[in-house]
């Protein structure tokens, strides 16, 4: 197991390097000029040129790359072009919000998606199956900003159960939890759809296997056969989809954070992009990349737990 973990971690290094380099290149390909966001549209060209120089935007690209890599190795994300604050401070301020939202969405996705998928498979072509299929189709087709607004209209504006602006006062635990419900539901719904589909098809396949027939022939109750025998075989694809989904969730958090007006990495990315704050954008993408790589490692490690064969191979 230890060797497996070490191998996985070592493999992450070239991946991260490739990601960092891509981030560096991508951010520099984005057209636009941060001086407009900083100085406004009334400043003269001379003032802009002076600022560009001060921000180090005039440096040769290779030097910028070396600086960037050096900084990352020191765990330093640099300073924001527009606010001049250390990026690490800004990122750490919003990171808990994104982690909390992503984890909550993961819970929503799994807790609703897995039973729904199993139920659908057990009642093939029955009501539960029909419901699960419609639901997952709707789930994958609704863009997060549309479902978000629908949720807000129904539960925040009409019923007033939850706030429209999903930020609670500091230290207000219940307020924070309350504010988390709608956004995590919104973000999680998309995942419910996928988890349901994967669970359903996996279960259908498993239920048609010989060993299930054997188990049934032994006289085991259907429920035991389903959960003890068939379900265990669906765990690997479920973990895969959940793990893959973590990446998608981080991406989708952007829309959810904007619609629900929650602070977070996604919202910060949009701000950084709008202001052409290259250094902040770069820092945020690095953090997201690390998060996704980490999620992938965790997924691989979970395989080992749910399927012992993975560990040995």
């Amino acid at each position: 197991m230890l060797r497996f973990v070490l191998k996985r971690l070592l493999l992450a290094i070239p991946t991260l390097w490739a990601v960092l380099t891509t981030v560096f290149v991508l951010v520099r390909v984005v057209p636009g000029d941060p001086t407009i966001a900083i100085l406004g549209d009334q400043a003269s060209e001379a003032a802009r040129a002076e600022l560009r120089e001060k921000l180090g935007l005039g440096k040769p690209i290779l030097m910028q790359y070396v600086d960037f890599m050096g900084q990352i190795l020191h765990g330093d994300l640099g300073r924001s072009l527009s606010t001049n604050r250390p990026i690490t401070t800004d990122v750490l301020a919003v990171l808990p919000y994104t982690i909390e939202l992503t984890l909550a969405a993961l819970v929503v996705g799994t807790v609703l998606g897995v039973p729904l998928g199993v139920l659908a498979a057990m009642n093939r072509n029955g009501f539960a199956d029909w419901f699960a299929r419609i639901f997952s189709l709707a789930g994958v087709s609704f863009p997060a900003f549309v479902s978000g607004i629908l949720l807000l209209i129904a539960f925040a504006v009409e019923l007033r159960w939850f706030p429209v602006i999903s930020i609670a006062k500091e230290g207000d635990f219940w307020g924070r939890l309350n504010a988390l419900v709608l956004p995590s539901l919104n973000l999680g719904l998309l995942m419910v759809a996928y988890v349901t589909r994967v669970t359903r098809s996996g279960m259908l396949k498993a239920l048609g296997e010989d060993y299930i027939r054997t188990a049934r022939a032994k006289g085991l109750p259907y429920r035991t056969v389903v959960w003890r025998h068939a379900f265990r075989n669906v765990l690997v694809p479920i973990v895969t989809v959940v793990g893959l989904y973590l990446g998608v969730l981080i991406g989708n958090a952007v829309l959810t954070e904007i619609v629900f007006n929650r602070p977070g990495i996604g919202k910060l990315i949009v701000t950084a992009l709008n202001q052409r704050d290259y250094s902040l954008l770069q820092g945020l993408m690095v953090v997201s990349a690390f998060a996704i790589v980490l999620a992938n490692i965790l997924t691989d490690l979970t395989y080992g737990l749910v399927d012992p064969r993975v560990k040995t191979s």
């Binding site: 057209p31 009334q42 060209e45 002076e50 606010t83 904007i258 619609v259 202001q275």
Partner: protein, 514 residues
């Protein structure tokens, strides 16, 4: 028994008075269409989301009357009075005594005023340095007197010492001590002081109890950044926001005007939308082609589309209500004449016009109307649509044959004329600002007006400049867009909100929330 009830009720009433409403603080929540604050340093703040906040925290020597954007209605602020020498070159300001800066930054004196204005005049610390170019010296005569000497008269000198842009007075000690942090921890003398800033989330301001006009009635302002239009509207509808930045959209205004308990205010200053025609590119160097473009465009139709509630017809190449705006003689809408002009210029079958356009929906849809109108005269306008920031960067590289730009500026004709139509401001040069059309036809009038001491003569020069620019089709005026704000009617600004030089309501010591 009755007595007991009476006693109990009295006790309850006392309790309620003691712990109920008196303990609760009045928080005014304002929702802004932005993802974050940009710059709260008043000498740098130019964006729509930053300017209102600056107006809550700072004072100038004089101020725009709350609810007004007119230079003719300026009133004393940090200066109680002022004298002007006969030649108009020396101005002496007598400061109010005992004005305190926020926090422990002490009393405001002439030293702070001198520091602030010099800071505003320096391009390293200010985005408005060019406004102060004619200033020769700024000196403290004594702790409560400041003397400003000019090299040449400035149109509306009071304008550059008003509580707007460079005229805002900052604490010298604080600005020096905080350095780069000053832009998120600004220190002024205004009715509200910054208390907290949460990146991408909100700003909290608290009442400055020592404010020289009296302690504000609102205890706290929570200024929230809500970039998504729908989320902002929903938060306003649900009552989570007291005041909201409205959409510059006829349907939005009509919808909220119908809602009970909500007041929608459509205010000046407007942003004038102009189509700049780039004379440096062929065939737009030909006046006949430019005239054809001007005549093909029907501004009435654009105003009709934008909606009469938020848009007004343009009168000139300078927005209405500015000091010096002239009701220019604009080219009439005449498609037949436009076609004839094109034929005369050698384009009987029409021509192509390539523009770079922002994807910002409100600006894009205006341009789509222009596109359709030009098409009728045989001008095929090809739009390369890019995102807003790229557009800003690209149009400054002189890449577009025509350019749609919409802006509000300091309400003097001088500023608009200098930034958009003077040859010094031509894009692609080191002194460039926003002269996208390479216009130079009125340089002399603009320069002469700037140093004219005779107000009537000055207005005449500005008028001539505007007519020349219109005649030469440096830009085609399209429409003027007003600002839209809405509030729940339990909020009373304390004045009639008709205009906002700071692009948002000024929250003063008199503002209340019931």
């Amino acid at each position: 028994m009755k007595r007991h009830i009476l006693a109990a009720t009295t006790a309850l009433a006392l309790l309620a008075a003691g712990f109920g409403p008196a303990a609760a603080e009045t928080v005014l929540t304002v929702g802004m269409a932005a993802a974050d604050v940009g710059q709260l340093d008043p000498h740098r703040a130019t964006t729509t989301q930053d300017k209102p906040v600056v107006s809550w925290m700072f004072n100038g020597l004089v101020r725009f009357k709350p609810g007004s954007a007119s230079l003719e209605e300026l009133e004393p602020d940090l200066a109680e009075s002022w004298d002007k020498s006969a030649d108009g070159l020396t101005w002496t300001f007598h400061l109010r005594k005992g004005v305190k800066f926020h926090g422990d930054w002490g009393e405001m004196t002439s030293e702070d005023v001198v520091y602030s204005l010099k800071r505003a005049a320096d391009s390293k610390t200010s985005s408005f340095a060019s406004d102060y170019a004619p200033v020769a010296s700024i000196d403290a005569v004594d702790p409560y007197t400041v003397k400003i000497v000019l090299k040449q008269p400035i149109p509306a000198l009071l304008g550059i010492v008003a509580n707007y842009h460079g005229g805002n007075i900052v604490s010298k000690k604080a600005a020096e001590a905080l350095g780069a942090d000053f832009k998120i921890k600004p220190v002024g003398t205004g009715p509200f002081a910054i208390a907290d800033y949460k990146s991408n989330e909100s700003l909290t301001l608290v009442a400055n109890k020592a404010y020289f006009r009296g302690a504000p009635k609102i205890d706290k302002i929570l200024y929230r950044f809500i970039p998504a239009d729908a989320a902002r509207d929903l938060a306003f509808t649900s009552g989570e926001l007291d005041v909201v930045y409205g959409r510059q959209d006829q349907r939005w205004v009509e919808r909220f005007q119908k809602e009970k308990g909500i007041a929608v205010e459509v205010v000046q200053p407007s942003e004038l939308a102009l189509l700049f025609v780039n004379q440096s590119k062929k065939p737009f160097d030909d006046i006949r082609v430019r005239k054809a473009i001007a005549m093909a465009i029907d501004s009435k139709q654009i105003v009709g589309f934008k909606g009469a509630a938020t848009a007004i017809p343009p009168v000139s190449v300078v927005p209405v209500g500015y000091l010096g705006t002239y009701n220019a003689k604009l080219y009439p809408h005449d498609v037949a004449k436009a076609k004839a002009l094109l034929a005369e210029a050698g384009y009987p079958n029409g021509l192509e016009l390539k523009v770079i356009q922002t994807s910002l929906p409100t600006m894009l849809n205006s341009m789509q109307i222009v596109q359709a109108q030009l098409k009728q005269a045989g001008i095929d306008m090809k739009m390369e649509v890019v995102d807003h920031q790229s557009w800003h960067a690209q149009i400054r590289k002189d890449l577009s044959e025509a350019n749609y730009y919409s802006a509000a500026r300091f309400p003097v004709a001088d500023v608009y004329l200098k930034q958009f139509f003077h040859s010094r401001a031509i894009v692609g040069t080191p002194t460039a600002v926003t002269n996208f059309s390479h216009c130079s036809v009125a340089d002399k009038e603009i320069d002469d007006a700037a140093i004219s001491t005779d107000a009537a003569k000055q207005k005449e020069l500005w008028a001539t400049a505007q007519q020349k620019i219109v005649d030469d089709v440096c830009a085609v005026p399209l429409f003027e867009q007003l600002q839209v704000w809405a509030r729940h009617d339990n909020v009373d600004y304390g004045y009639t909100f008709k205009a906002a030089i700071h692009l948002g309501p000024v929250i003063t010591e008199a503002t209340t929330k019931k």
